[in-house]
């Protein structure tokens, strides 16, 4: 009796520790795998860095509009551009490929907690996001001498972690809906227009009125406005509206992914 009541919590905490270890191991190896996949890691880090270098730093060197440093203003846009790419391609691309090869089946048949798979992919994408945003910040500081305070940097990192989630859900929905071969193309078809229309490359107020309205549907818009606000720049809409925008987008994508997953399961 007494041994039973003693051993029960012990086994429970053991299994909790093991579950935690599974989550950590999955996440670590997912990150290592993405890092070793040069085709992914070089392009996913390279594109936002090169774009920011050309369009944010070289073309606008030392430019100010009023009290606003253009280089710092652009940093917000390219940071969101970078983290969105990492999340879309890291999760969408990886999931689509593992779905088509049957690897996901094998994982599902194993005792791995299914959630560990998604959390691992999400965490790795967020880690890439942190690396990209830090690199962009470093470039901004060294080349354009923008001033970023520590709290600003920390807030940007926090927004990167949270901001990965809506894009991760979008990537997941695409991977579940689109045939594997078409996934990279479809992701680009959504990612690039979404970046432009969300005001990541050209400030939102310089876009046509129609696009400014359309931007309300895009997580790129809401997230970049939140980053701009954290820099103390004037941003469109209230912070609350942006958080609701991100939440709404995330829920819609989760719903789409859930329906797509059920459809896949029924046919398998």
């Amino acid at each position: 009796m007494s041994t039973a009541s003693l051993s029960l919590p012990a086994t429970r905490s053991n299994s909790f520790a093991r579950t935690l270890r599974i989550f950590l191991t999955e996440a670590r190896y997912e990150f290592v795998r993405l890092l070793r996949t040069r085709g992914f890691s070089l392009s996913i880090i390279g594109f936002p860095v090169i774009f920011y270098l050309f369009f944010g730093l070289i073309m606008n060197r030392g430019e100010h509009i009023g009290s606003v440093s253009v280089a710092k203003y652009m940093l917000a846009g390219y940071a969101v551009f970078g983290m969105a790419g990492a999340a879309l391609f890291g999760i969408g691309g990886g999931l689509a490929s593992e779905l088509s090869t049957g690897w996901l089946e094998l994982k599902r048949a194993s005792p791995m907690p299914p959630f560990a798979y998604l959390v691992a992919k999400c965490c790795s994408a967020a880690a890439f996001g942190l690396v990209i945003v830090s690199l962009l910040t470093l470039l901004g500081i060294t080349i354009a001498h923008i001033s970023i305070t520590l709290p600003e940097y920390v807030r940007m990192m926090a927004l990167t972690l949270v901001g990965t989630i809506p894009f991760a859900c979008l990537g997941m929905a695409i991977a579940l809906l689109v045939p594997f071969n078409a996934t990279p193309g479809v992701i680009n078809m959504i990612y690039l227009p979404m970046s432009f229309c969300g005001g990541l490359w050209i400030p939102i107020m310089m876009l046509p009125h129609v696009l400014q309205k359309f931007a309300l549907l895009l997580p790129t818009y809401h997230l970049s406005q939140l980053v701009l606000a954290s820099f103390g720049y004037a941003s469109a809409g209230s912070a609350m509206s942006h958080w609701f925008g991100l939440l709404g987008f995330t829920l819609v994508m989760l719903g789409v992914a859930a329906i797509a997953y059920r459809r896949l399961e029924q046919n398998s």
């Binding site: 093991r18 599974i22 191991t25 190896y29 996949t37 090869t101 094998l106 048949a109 005792p111 791995m112």
Partner: protein, 320 residues
């Protein structure tokens, strides 16, 4: 032409009545209307190697996926260790090897194996798995750099990682050379010898013949026949028309005798000419041979064989 039942294997096979997994009266209809399984029932017993045979589209993989808890039946019950196969507790006791096009290529063999070992509270020691699956020398390689056979061995190793009591092997030896195939067979036999249950699907009938204690042939979603390899062979022979199937032999030779003359010989059930050669099925092979040799002094290139599982399989699945 046919491997006769291995006597060692036959003697080591001890019937066990402990059911490990069962499908009872399973019907599975996919959303697109395809009926994959039609009132199918089968049971796996402890310590047995069971081979699931059937032509493409027969419902083999659907049946296996149900037992792995990867899909749910339209009606009927799936029990594994007397529980739902989708429960983690059940999954902790099963190992799975699936036809996987590609595992993540940029992870090393050792890393893959350790990730899977981490899923289980009491995994097999790493060295034991690596030895059993023959991974020596490739453990530090990336999965993407491996040959087809090496990949297959890594996937086999993943199925063993948790020291499972029930192992599902979906075409385990595809792409293996003869030596590696024999090695994996030895490993599968040793699993059964340790009281583990193995369900394997295969397209290599000689593999089922050499390994399985019990063969289940399914076609069009139903079990057609079930038994030891010897029983399945004789059932197949019976369905081709030979009545006393145990003594059925296949005689091949080159002879001048006509088909009609051959069919008149006692015991002959069928006679088919192909080029110079003639293939005769006989239920009284000794008598047939005596007569045959007496009738044709020039007869040559004589071969006598037992019917192969392959013949039984074809007979069973095409008649169905």
């Amino acid at each position: 032409m046919s491997a006769v039942l291995d006597p060692v294997q036959a003697s080591s096979y001890t019937a066990s009545s402990t059911a490990v997994a069962s499908l009872s009266h399973i019907t599975k209809r996919y959303a697109n209307g395809v009926l994959a399984l039609d009132d199918l029932s089968l049971t796996l017993y402890r310590g047995q190697i069971v081979a699931l045979l059937g032509p493409n589209g027969a419902g083999k993989s659907t049946a296996v996926r149900l037992m792995m808890g990867l899909s749910a039946p339209t009606s009927g019950a799936v029990r594994v260790f007397d529980a739902d196969p989708r429960h983690t507790a059940t999954r902790l006791r099963t190992g799975v090897m699936l036809q996987v096009g590609k595992a993540p290529e940029m992870l090393r063999v050792r890393e893959h194996l350790n990730i899977f070992r981490g899923y289980y509270p009491n995994p097999l020691p790493y060295a034991d798995i690596a030895r059993a699956a023959g991974l020596d020398g490739i453990e530090s390689r990336m999965f993407g750099q491996l040959s087809g056979g090496q990949k297959q061995r890594v996937l086999f190793a993943l199925a063993l990682a948790g020291d499972p009591d029930l192992v599902f092997l979906d075409e385990p030896t595809v792409g293996l050379d003869i030596e590696a195939r024999r090695g994996m067979w030895a490993q599968i036999r040793s699993l059964a010898a340790r009281g583990k249950t193995v369900l394997l699907t295969t397209h290599y009938l000689e593999e089922a013949d050499a390994l399985a204690h019990r063969i289940i042939v399914i076609n069009k979603g139903r079990v057609i026949c079930e038994g030891t390899p010897a029983e399945v062979k004789s059932l197949g022979a019976a369905s081709t028309g030979a009545s006393t199937s145990r003594t059925l032999k296949i005689i091949r030779c080159v002879t001048d005798l006509s088909t009609a003359a051959l069919l008149a010989i006692p015991g002959v059930t069928t006679a088919e000419h192909a080029g110079d050669h003639v293939t005769i099925n006989s239920t009284q092979p000794e008598r047939t041979l005596r007569e045959l040799l007496a009738l044709d002094q020039n007869l040559h290139s004589l071969e006598v064989a037992s019917p192969a599982l392959e013949d039984a399989f074809l007979a069973l699945t095409t008649n169905a």
